[in-house]
Structures are given as structure tokens and as C-alpha cells.
């Protein structure tokens, strides 16, 4: 089986400081990988380098494209990369307002992404938007309201609908449940898990919440000071951590 995404020696420095370095891994179709670590460990830098939001200083990010097979997305032409990020890739931001257009209606936010890949039939776009709003549990009668009139949890669900409407194969998520209260978090986790299973998505989830990765991720990567210190099956890393930092991280979680 060929990997969907193959990351090789990705490195990013901020002046003399290391953002992340020596990061290599393969992600296979249908796999969900979690990246955990404390603030400043380089997990968001890595995610942004992979998703093409930040230019890394070295390394390769190979993606199994539909037409050309494995291609290094870092050396890809700008239009091609932009097309990729509208079709096969999706990026869910921690703050929904970074991923949404706040002045456009909820339905418009979902429809816009469809139009970006060529959909032009208003009725069909609206129909698909209604369908996706339903899947993320937003009532149809809120479809013409702007996201600024939504609660934080609803905005996050809308952002997910906007991202998944084009049927991406790879989703990058940056703290998707951060800043939401626990009941909304549970709802969102349930939703994400269902979508991942039904659509066969691959996903990379950056978070500092170990309970979230335990429920969502198959595999885990632990980062500290820009380096990957441990990788493995999620429950194995959490239940039998090998590295000193992972042991500290796991033993620091509050028990409810």
C-alpha cells in the first residue's frame, strides 16, 4: 500500500531557533495521526509546514495526488498547490474565524468552497450546503445567518462542514476542540469520528489534549523542543510511554 502522505526530514528554523527538525513519517489512507506536545514544542509549526502555510527550510512533503502519483507539494506550482488545498486537502483552524468568512452566510461559507472547484448550479450548491449543515447539526433555518451570529461550537462545526464538503482525502486539524466547553467538545469528537469512518479520511490532528487523541487518533507523535521524541500506536504511547518527556506528559493529566 502506498502512503497518502510521506514527510521526509522536514525542518523549519526561526533565525537561530529550531521550529521543528528531523521530522519524517508516512501516513496511510484512513489513518488518523495525533501530534501532541507542550506549547512551543513545534507541533503547529510542523502542521503549517506540511499544509503549505509556512515554507520549511528543508525536507519534502510528498502527497499521493490523483493524477500524478507522489508529488512533492513544496516544489509544486502555486496554482496546483492551491487546487490541492481546495480539493484533496482541508485545514481546520483552532479559531473558527480564521477558517471562515465571517461576513458571508453559513450556507455561503459551505457553498464557496464548492464554487472554488467549479460548481455553478445554485440549486445544487444550496442543496449540498443544507445537507452538510445537517451533518454537523446546524439547523437549516440558520443557513442564511452569518457565522458571527453563531456560538463558538457552531462556528467550529460550520468550519468543519466548509472543509469537508469537497470530499478531501487529508484533513489537517489544529486544536479542533480547543476553547470549547466539554459538552460541545464531546459532540464535536463524536461528529469527527463518524465522518472519519464514513468518508475514510486521513487526518493529522495537533492538540495538547491527550483525551482527544485517545479517542480520535490511531497513531501518536510526541514532540518536544522541535524534535519528535516518541511515536507509536496511540494507546501504547499513552499507556506504556518510553521517553522521559512522554512519561511526564502522561502523568501530568488531571484525572476526572
Amino acid at each position: 500500500m502506498t502512503p497518502l502522505l510521506s514527510v521526509k526530514d522536514v525542518r523549519k528554523t526561526y533565525g537561530g531557533r529550531i521550529g521543528c527538525t528531523d521530522v519524517s513519517f508516512d501516513l496511510y489512507p484512513g489513518e488518523v495521526m495525533g501530534i501532541v506536545g507542550e506549547s512551543g514544542s513545534g507541533k503547529s509549526t510542523l502542521l503549517n509546514c506540511m499544509a503549505g502555510h509556512l515554507p520549511p527550510d528543508g525536507g519534502q512533503v510528498l502527497f499521493d495526488t490523483r493524477t500524478r502519483g507522489m508529488v512533492d507539494t513544496l516544489t509544486m506550482s502555486e496554482p496546483e498547490r492551491r487546487m490541492l488545498s481546495r480539493t484533496d486537502w482541508a485545514f481546520v483552524h483552532q479559531h473558527a474565524r480564521d477558517g471562515l468568512r465571517m461576513g458571508v452566510s453559513a450556507g455561503g461559507n459551505v457553498g464557496e468552497r464548492l464554487m472554488a472547484v467549479g460548481a455553478r448550479h445554485y440549486g445544487q450548491i444550496r442543496e449540498q450546503a443544507v445537507d452538510w449543515l445537517g451533518r454537523v447539526e446546524i439547523d437549516e433555518d440558520r443557513m442564511d445567518d452569518p457565522p458571527s451570529a453563531f456560538s463558538g461550537g457552531m462556528q467550529q462545526r460550520l468550519q468543519i462542514a466548509r472543509n469537508l464538503v469537497t470530499g478531501p482525502r487529508l484533513v489537517f486539524m489544529d486544536e479542533p476542540t480547543g476553547g470549547l466547553d466539554v459538552s460541545v467538545q464531546a459532540r464535536l469528537l463524536d461528529l469527527l469520528r463518524g465522518l472519519v469512518r464514513e468518508m475514510g479520511l486521513s487526518a493529522i490532528i495537533v492538540t495538547h489534549d491527550l483525551a482527544v487523541v485517545r479517542l480520535l487518533a490511531d497513531r501518536l507523535m510526541v514532540m518536544k523542543s522541535g524534535h519528535v521524541v516518541e511515536t507509536g500506536l496511540t494507546d501504547q504511547v499513552l499507556d506504556d510511554p518510553q521517553h522521559a518527556y512522554t512519561q511526564l506528559l502522561v502523568s501530568s493529566v488531571l484525572q476526572v
Binding site: 489513518e31 463524536d190 490511531d218 506504556d240 521517553h243
Partner: protein, 227 residues
């Protein structure tokens, strides 16, 4: 079906002055199809540790743990995931589920993930839940709010939903009343009849005597005390 070959394990506690605690050495045994082997030994002898190593939950320091064609001790995460999905079931003592998911779906999930049709999976889930005396009024609720015994039974129903060729059972009859204990024992017997290889930990001696074909004392694999 399950073949454990010269497996060892130690824990390194980095936050306690890097203390290394050897817990297992030279564990070797086999379990054939249709056979049930009970792990015995005192508390702390390493029964659960060994079971978790077979499931890939704990990392083995050396040796091989074959379940079918997969060597869990040396496999990639995705190979272990595939093994757990189709071949190796595990009934732990604790139910761990996504909040908000109804009990019926929790039980049917292992079947859905191997591609069984929805109606078949839910029919099987309903059958197991009624056999284990979970009242039908609770099926639509998330098991997170259930009593300890009910959670344990939901966990068992989930563990037995798919006909895994190999199963690990960690105290499946703990905290169950006589009727439910009887149901669980017959589920184990049915699994043996269809050819499942089973490794179990049973503190309940009469239950162990009834379903287990052999016993393996884990203390035999405890390393000699150093210092």
C-alpha cells in the same frame, strides 16, 4: 493461533532516577484454535502486563508475539490496528467510549468497522444486549452514565460482537451476578466451539475451571530479583 516466543519486558521510570524494573523474561507459550488458556499467578505477577503486550498496548523489549501472521512485538501501528479490527479482540475491565454514542452503536461498532451491513450488525448487538440483560430502555443512551456492572456487560457485548479468531479476556466475570456470569461463560464456550483461541485472566476459580483447558502460571516468567 497465538504464539509467544521468548518475550521480555521492563519498565524504565525516567522521572524516578531512571529506575529500570524488569517485569518479564523468557515468556514462551502457544494457544491453539478452539483452546482457552488461563493466566494465573499472584497479583503483580504480570498477567495483565502480558495480556497488554499481546494486544500491543504495552511494548515488548524483545521476542516475538505472533497472532496469525502478525508479530505484534515488531509490527507497524497500522498492522496492529488491522489485526485488532479483524482478528484479535480484547475485553478489558474498563469501558472506554466516545461520550454521547448510544449503547447499541457502541456494541455494533466492531462489526461496522469490519464492513458488516448495518442491519446485521445492529441485530447482533440487540441480541447480545438482551442476552446480557441490559434493559432495552437503555440501548439508546450512552453507557458513560451506567452502573459499573452494566458498563462491564456492555463491554462484554462489544467484545463478543465480532467473531474474532483470537480473544483476550481480562476478568470477564468480575462484578457480575450469577445469571450474567452464566451468560458470559456460555459466550466463551460458544467462542471456543467456533474455533477462537482465547487467553483469559479469571480470579473466579470455578469459572476458570469450567472454560480453561490449561493454566499458565505467569510467575514462571518473572525475572530473578536483582539487588
Amino acid at each position: 493461533m497465538i504464539k509467544i516466543d521468548n518475550v521480555s519486558k521492563s519498565f524504565t521510570l525516567h522521572n524516578q532516577g531512571a529506575a529500570v524494573i524488569p517485569v518479564m523474561d523468557g515468556a514462551t507459550f502457544e494457544v491453539g484454535a478452539g483452546e482457552c488458556v488461563a493466566l494465573t499467578g499472584n497479583s503483580g505477577a504480570g498477567k495483565s502486563t502480558l495480556m497488554r503486550m499481546i494486544y500491543g498496548n504495552y511494548l515488548s523489549a524483545s521476542g516475538h508475539i505472533w497472532t496469525g501472521d502478525t508479530d505484534v512485538a515488531n509490527a507497524e501501528p497500522r498492522e496492529i490496528i488491522a489485526l485488532r479490527r479483524a482478528t484479535l479482540g480484547y475485553v478489558s475491565q474498563f469501558l472506554r467510549v466516545v461520550p454521547r454514542v448510544p449503547t447499541l452503536e457502541v456494541v455494533a461498532e466492531p462489526l461496522l468497522s469490519v464492513g458488516v451491513a448495518k442491519d446485521v450488525a445492529f441485530a447482533r448487538a440487540r441480541d447480545l444486549l438482551s442476552r446480557l440483560n441490559i434493559p432495552e430502555t437503555l440501548w439508546g443512551l450512552s453507557p458513560t452514565t451506567f452502573s459499573g456492572g452494566e458498563q462491564q456487560r456492555v463491554n462484554i457485548a462489544r467484545g463478543f460482537a465480532h467473531d474474532y479468531p483470537a480473544m483476550l479476556l481480562d476478568e470477564p466475570t468480575a462484578s457480575l451476578d450469577a445469571t450474567n456470569r452464566e451468560t458470559v461463560l456460555s459466550l466463551i464456550e460458544e467462542a471456543k466451539t467456533r474455533g477462537a483461541a482465547i487467553i483469559g485472566i479469571f480470579h473466579d476459580a470455578p469459572a476458570r475451571d469450567r472454560v480453561a483447558d490449561r493454566e499458565i502460571n505467569v510467575s514462571a516468567f518473572t525475572p530473578a530479583k536483582v539487588a
